[in-house]
Amino acid sequence: MNLDKFLVKGEPMIYAAMVSIVVASLAILIGLTYFKKWGYMWREWLTTVDHKKIGVMYIIAALLMLFRGGVDALLMRAQLAMPENGLLDAQHYNEIFTTHGVIMILFMAMPFIIGLMNIVIPLQIGARDVAFPRLNAVSFWLFMAGAMLFNISFVVGGSPDAGWTAYFPLASLEYSPTVGNNYYSIALQIAGIGTLLTGVNFIVTILKMRAPGMKLMRMPMFTWSVLITCVIILFAFPVLTVALALMMFDRMFGGQFFTMANGGMDMLWANLFWVWGHPEVYIVILPAFGIYSEIISTFSKKNLYGYKSMVVSMVAISLLSFLVWAHHFYTMGHGAMVNGFFSITTMAIAIPTGVKIFNWLFTLRKGRISFTTPMLYSLAFIPIFTIGGVTGVMLAMASADYQYHNTMFLVAHFHYVLIPGTVFAVIAGFHYWFPKMFGFRLNEKLGKLAFWFIAICFNITFFPLFFLGLNGMTRRMYTYSEGSGFGPLNMLATIGSVGLAIGFVILVYNVYWSFRYAPRDTTGDPWDARTLEWSTHSPVPEYNFAITPNVKGMDAFWAAKKENQPLYEGKIEPIHMPNNSGQPFILGVIFFFLGFFLVFSMWVPAIVTGVGVVIMLAWRSFERDHGRHISVEEIIETERKLGGDTV
């Protein structure tokens, strides 16, 4: 067999990456063997169907991807620091900005949010698990298969290099002849199916598994935001599925969808991509809004201002999010009618978003605010995100957009939306719910130090890009001349990015430090919070709640604490739980290989693994697994160990 097809050669940095991947994998394998942890790994993690563990795995994967995407970002900033820099060549730069975008959106932001969803949602609605625990594990392993497949592209066969939007005709076989964009279409496809299944799972969970008394309009805001997010996932991801399938046909089976000849229409790709792509933006931002709502309410010691208007504005955003996509390609050449229509819908979406900003401000008003780490991120979010939002309205004006389109102004805008919006939110949520996951808080001092680094250096990195863009620096250019005058501001942005990286290193160190030294939380409610997840123990027992809580109003746990309303009434009964299963993991592995063989057009092994997938489905269909029951004695024993007062 000719190995040249698979190995990327001639790049010192890629050789270094290969070596480090091999070393890291070996270290993990040797470590697991040495500490005899294989059985533990398999029993407790690889086969788990517990929503909390799946959530933790999502977050670990997201942090790893944050590291990978972050290194990409630093390389780009290093390349652009000086005019005519030779650190990266054009091809390598193309690959890096492509993988940076894909990884940060689809393999960092999405899994981080889905991880928090997994951990928090069943607890927040007083449920024992999600509606379909096994399907939840399938979702995770499909995501993981997609993420790993995408990541190996870097050393096996070559990365995609046509941008994270993979516009045609650039992404066609003719102009991108390497397997890079095959990886793009297939890895995203596999991960996307996982995401779609998550959407179905959480809608059913939220609609059908709420504790008695928790009406829809009594749900915590994070639960509401996730419900609406999942609705968007459910209807937007099929569009991506189709778009990626068409891309696969064009690249691998001679399809003519996006070609320049035979009637193909290259811009149809951009159209379909953004029909999914713009709702996708709201998929990553709405749960963030939910997280901020929880945190701001908790640390202001007030209930959320304008609950109903929050819900209504999210529903409005979810509908509007499907009506704005063409603003991503105003300059494509369609008429004034199209641009006018999409300008108006795009600006309209600022209205419900503005409603939410005011609601948060009014929640803060006259609150007794405690400045914890999660609260600091939430407070920083409001002004920084507003800058992102306002520049968004500038970009929404089609005629003005001809000036900003594809410049660094746009790059600055979407980083100003996505970083304070999504990244700050998941970090804030991570700090906020960390004690629920592991039973102790992260260190506040280190947390705040990381916060100041991240918040300040974020602005140093991205604010200059607005001016670079207005001065005419386009995005995705791998270098520029000295005469352009872009040098000083770029250097400033690069310095900022180093500070940003230091902030993230402090964050990771904080996790390490806290695991070793942080005092354990015995209350289960270290923040004096309001919602149901804080009413059970930390870390949460497998069955979540020994007795199903009885909800009588909004912020049920707060009411229980302040007005002495009993939350847990009745006696302990045996709890039905699903059994662990290795099938989701095996299915993920098969999908990984199926994807790999498709990428390299190796048809015979691809068909064999495809049959493998069908066999796995049949195995599941014929399986008769009715789960198991946890006995009353076992529950009482667990509760006693955790120091529960519910018994």
Binding site: L207, V231, F235, A236, V239, M265, M267, L268, N271, L272, V275, L319, F322, L323, W325, A326, G333, H334, G335, M337, V338, F341
Partner: protein, 95 residues
């Protein structure tokens, strides 16, 4: 036998065959484009509703009925936006 072939199902089936035949009018008669589209659309929507209400029992579960309607409404909204939005941006509104 009567229990195996409920009259509602049989009528529904016959009606769906009739609707398919009616739709054939668009190729056998010289109709204007819009008239033909109206016929096709009406027949297709009737057929889909027939399947939905008669065979798929969409309205039978009281507790989830509203959810199912909302789900279908939202799906149809997104579907129509995708179809007509794409035609609008790619063909009708294209210079």
């Amino acid at each position: 036998m009567k229990q195996l072939f409920p009259i509602k199902h049989v009528m529904g089936y016959l009606f769906s065959l009739v609707l398919s035949v009616v739709a054939l009018a668009v190729i056998f008669f010289d109709l204007s484009f819009s008239a033909a589209m109206v016929i096709l659309l009406v027949c297709a929507i009737l057929q889909a509703s027939l399947q939905l209400f008669l065979f798929m029992h969409v309205s039978e579960a009281a507790d989830t009925k509203k959810t199912l309607y909302l789900n279908i409404a939202y799906a149809v909204f997104v579907g129509l936006v995708t179809i007509f939005g794409t035609l609008f941006t790619m063909i009708w509104g294209y210079q």
